[in-house]
């Protein structure tokens, strides 16, 4: 199959909306509601509460060490007031994504459980980096990290046979998965992930974090959000948090690090924090 025909195949899959994983209604409803300037805390809380599992998870995250809040937050309303609507929406998106991951069993060469853990590992790493570099929204970085490899999920589920070849190729030759994907599928998971994110109407920032997490040649205008996902990916793989099928730690770009303005002597304490938060996050998000 020539590369063009291959790319067409994934585009066809991406176009057939009903075959693709969808975000839960609670997220779409919430996004709609937030477009209205008159949305109240009560209405927002009401929508999230319709999905009890979601409500419980959001509260668990808010009460985790991530936020280091002095007192326990007992209600969604309280959580919305403390964290703000946008942060709550980001948390709902993150939780929604995890529900999607969990729907797919690993019945192929690709270990879904490990993939899920890798996604959380990268999310936690991106968040810790974003906090250290004082980015405006560490939660957006978390979401970007969580979704950065979502294209692999689409490949594993909808192109399972070809993707099994990709996994084997990458294992055998020790090359980055995107290289094997380019060769065998004609496009990589960053491309597929980007297309899915657009389909889901995610913010441009999130789309870019997914599309460019492999950056090779960053300009000085590289958004810091992309830099934290790019570096977070390497850190989480070095720490061995789950696995997205990559054999080697992707070479993190030095320029991307410089853009963040973090001292290299901080890397060790950053890695310790990632390791610590990872275990807590997996425990919270798992059930």
């Amino acid at each position: 199959m020539d590369p063009e025909a291959k790319t067409n195949k994934i585009d066809r899959i991406l176009r057939s909306v009903d075959r693709l994983p969808t975000l839960p209604t609670v997220y779409t409803k919430l996004t709609q509601l937030l477009r209205s300037p008159n949305a109240t805390v009560k209405e927002i809380g009401g929508i999230i509460s319709e999905d009890q599992a979601m409500a419980v998870k959001v509260l668990k995250i808010v009460n985790s060490a991530f936020y280091g809040l002095p007192n326990k937050v007992g209600s969604l309303k309280h959580a919305i007031v403390i964290l703000g609507i946008n942060q709550i929406r980001t948390l709902v998106l993150a939780t929604s994504t995890l529900q999607i991951f969990q729907k797919f069993e690993s019945d192929h060469s690709f270990d879904m459980q490990k993939f899920w853990e890798h996604s959380i590992g990268c999310a936690v790493a991106a968040r810790v980096l974003a906090e250290t570099a004082s980015l405006r929204s560490p939660d957006d970085a978390f979401t970007g990290g969580l979704l950065h490899d979502i294209g692999k999920l689409v490949h594993a589920v909808y192109l399972s046979e070809e993707f099994a070849t990709v996994v084997a190729d990458c294992e055998e030759r020790g090359v980055p998965m995107s290289e094997s994907e380019q060769r065998i599928l004609g496009h990589d998971h960053a491309y597929t992930g980007k297309e899915l994110a657009i389909k889901w109407s995610l913010s441009q920032g999130t789309v870019d974090m997914i599309a460019y997490h492999h950056i090779v040649n960053p300009s000085s205008e590289l958004p810091k959000e992309i830099a934290v996902v790019h570096i977070g990916n390497s850190l989480s793989i070095a720490l061995g948090l789950g696995s997205g099928g990559e054999k080697k730690v992707p070479v993190a770009n030095m320029k991307a690090w410089e853009i963040l303005g973090i001292k290299l002597s901080n890397l060790e304490s950053i890695m310790l924090r990632i390791d610590k938060f990872f275990n807590e996050s997996v425990a919270i998000l798992k059930n």
Partner: protein, 122 residues
Amino acid sequence: MGVLSVNDLKDGMALASEVKNKHGNILLKKGDMLSEIHILLLKSWGINEAEIEGVDWGQVEKREMEELSPELIASVEGELKDLFSDFGDNPLMEELYRVTKKFKLKKAVEKTCGSRSENKQN
């Protein structure tokens, strides 16, 4: 003199420069001798590093490495060889390699001799 991560600070080390918080307030003075309590406080204040008299990274690492068996080091180095590809001149990857090695050694030690590792994580 060298900058150490708070996780490597030990009882009895002397500060080579003052420790300030992000607002510039001085928390500990130059020359202060660190106690366990100081180190705990630094961690709880969110301080990541401190400049210490007469110590540098290389020394700390060397001392830690001397306590480990050569077999253990060899097995961890083998693991790292599979994990890292050639990254050329890249200070970030060099530091990532160093930290990853340290973590892996620490985990390997904890595995083989229970809680012998004295370098507790916070």
